[in-house]
Symmetry: D3
Subunit: 170 residues, 6 copies
């Protein structure tokens, strides 16, 4: 993980999902401004090259694995606050998912990227990550009869815009 | 990925989630026997060592990140068929999630393992994988104020028992 | 269908739920103003006259088919964005459902009308249509033991107000 | 509606979703055998011919309206008992949705057919009808920017197999 | 609370929802027989006598508070395993809810009773309790503009049949 | 119930969830201002003293009943509008749940308090009540193997701030 230098000065104050007694709560965001927010997350699923060929051929003519996975990811983004206990519900204004097929070091790789936007009081990185995870799970489900050794990996936030903590990309 | 030798003979027949016209469907499992089935999936989230310390201290006294993530993973397993479009609904008979904290190559690592069982007509590997993914997403959510560069990785099926395709572990 | 003159000039640009590559996405509405929006949808279910009598008698004294269907329709309106993959989540400010019982050409007919309002960035015609469809399905469910040949029909949007595309009624 | 001869002898006893006091309840099916059951429902959405052309072209290359609608219908079938108040939850063993494009009397028509199966104690006609309704709603949603006068119509059960009431088709 | 004599011999072994390490899990019921199970739960909501009169009048002619609450309770029973983290999903075979209006010690009281049945591997007392709680909450919601001091109280299991622990009633 | 003096002048106008014809509807709140709103609800579950000891010991070291119940209550608050038919969906900005363990008149008592806030057009007392009810149900579920005579009781709104009806506490 190409992590930046540690930031211990922030670390001791930052499990914000717990109150002073250490109990979990849904953090108060009532005083935060409703601004335009955007997050991009990525991740991938590694498979045998022969499995990737199945995915590729489906995209072109029939058996559209990625089309189904895209819908699953978009729908999951909308349900993030039902799945992640302390996430705030947000009215998403945009969800888009892209796939890219690659061959890396002898493996087939489906790379997934999700972009989510809202006009709200908290960021949408959890929604983007959830979209990626469920899209990858759906690829797994549809290909598992052909390849039971697929691995989902490298799921992370790539970019975040809007909100008090400032813009950044990784 | 320690993949076994390719198996092209199966590949051309195996996108079972599509019919002969290439259209997605929820596969007919009505003729399959309802047997005891079990799957184990694992995955991990990598973070800065300082972030791992926050998770560790929470487990011991307050700010129980892993306790919250465990509940999120168990609840998500029960909703797998709502998230994955072509998954069959299943009445799960057991869900258990374990975490293990490690330090690997300078990173902090939370390893998650989910075991799911049912008495049903299809396997439960998707439920186990979904439990792992949502548990990891919940760890991410609770630690993201401290560390925005965490990566979820190596999510895979480790063991599957019951059903026609036979038992295996990886 | 009393359709207006065709409008081919719009047709080639209008499958807005797909991006330039033809991939489905949840359209960006972040730049649209949050205005008061309203939609009315209608539809009906046709049944044998004897079945309609059962519905009528229930309304008056017991076996309140329409009361149950009204609640089902209202609840479904709130879940529209979970059901329709590319619908935006919206905080509805009003949902009302009315029924009217008629006899047309020897059939019994339950006419359903749903009015939905919001203060939001997209229209609510999908919510109104979903409310009508689920209300009609609920009537079907409650009467099916008496009449298995009922038909749900003529479900359409009747009126739309607010938003950039202007007000209209049909 | 090509209804069979009325059947008044059944009518007085048949609003089974209400008890003797006229109160709604979820009927006791505990004593019914868990048998293989199957239902087929159909319905259609009428639109301008130019809109149908958009749907057709999408199927062939990009903008796959019917692919998205198929997934929405399959997922909705699994959630029928959440939407229809007195429906029993059922573990579906199969869901398949087919579309057929036609031109009838100057209109474009997308015909939808849903087949649902289970091994359970009650029939699955509500699941098949719900799949059709949500698939049609999704077509409406994706085409509404091009054509706001589409009408969903003729939604009915075509075939039912299994269970005490015997097999039939219409 | 008319509690029986304490039973310390069971107490040390009985938080079955935790494993030997004290971690929450969804208990393994795979080895339990699928038998017919039934539970009855009751509870009530106390209100001003004038508020009870509003509820009573609605039942007779219009403003059917209890009709809406009954539907809400039945639908909630079906979603119990989504709400209660360690509950097993169960295919309910029957849900029925009854209300009784009383005047006790100067208060108006709506008494609610829910009966739930299944053919399954675990009991249904949580489903019966959830049905009562949500039915009472719905009464509260519908009457709160008239009376903001209502209290929901005395929610408990009254009867349980089927399963290894034997039949009992309280 | 320490109810205030009756208020018959309001009573005849106040079942606002029904229209002039007595039909249930989701009330129009489109003209209400989106203001900061807050509600506090409380309730408790009574149990044998030995059962309370199990809960207490779990809090300290393992078997964290209250930690699981807290998460369940927070998640349920977010789903209130799915459970209560005529509730408006609201984007909650804060949810916090506290527990207090007491011994009263020979019983063990777990007292639960939920605070919910939003920036919206309607109050959040239903969300606070739902959080309390589901948190108590979860305590019941986790302790029921030890004590089947627990009773959930005294669930009420304690405080409401924001909105036209003014602030109050009870």
């Amino acid at each position: 993980m190409s992590s930046p230098a540690p930031d211990p000065s922030r670390a001791d104050a930052v499990l914000t999902h717990f109150d002073a007694q250490g109990q979990a709560h849904m953090v108060d965001v009532g005083a935060k401004a409703a601004t335009h927010r955007r997050a991009v997350a990525t991740g991938c699923i590694r498979m045998r090259p022969a499995t990737l060929e199945l995915v590729e051929s489906g995209t072109a003519k029939k058996g559209d694995v990625l089309g189904v996975a895209r819908i699953a990811g978009i729908m999951a983004a909308k349900r993030t606050s039902e799945l992640i206990p302390l996430c705030h519900p947000l009215a998403l204004t945009r969800v888009a998912i892209e796939f890219d097929l690659q061959r890396i070091a002898g493996d087939g790789v489906v790379q997934c990227s999700a972009t989510v936007e809202t006009l709200g009081q908290t960021g949408v990185e959890m929604e983007a990550l959830t979209a990626v995870q469920v899209a990858l799970l759906t690829v797994y489900d549809m290909c598992k009869a052909a390849d039971k050794h697929m691995v989902m990996t490298d799921v992370r936030v790539r970019e975040k815009r809007g909100g008090k903590s400032g813009d950044w990309s990784a």
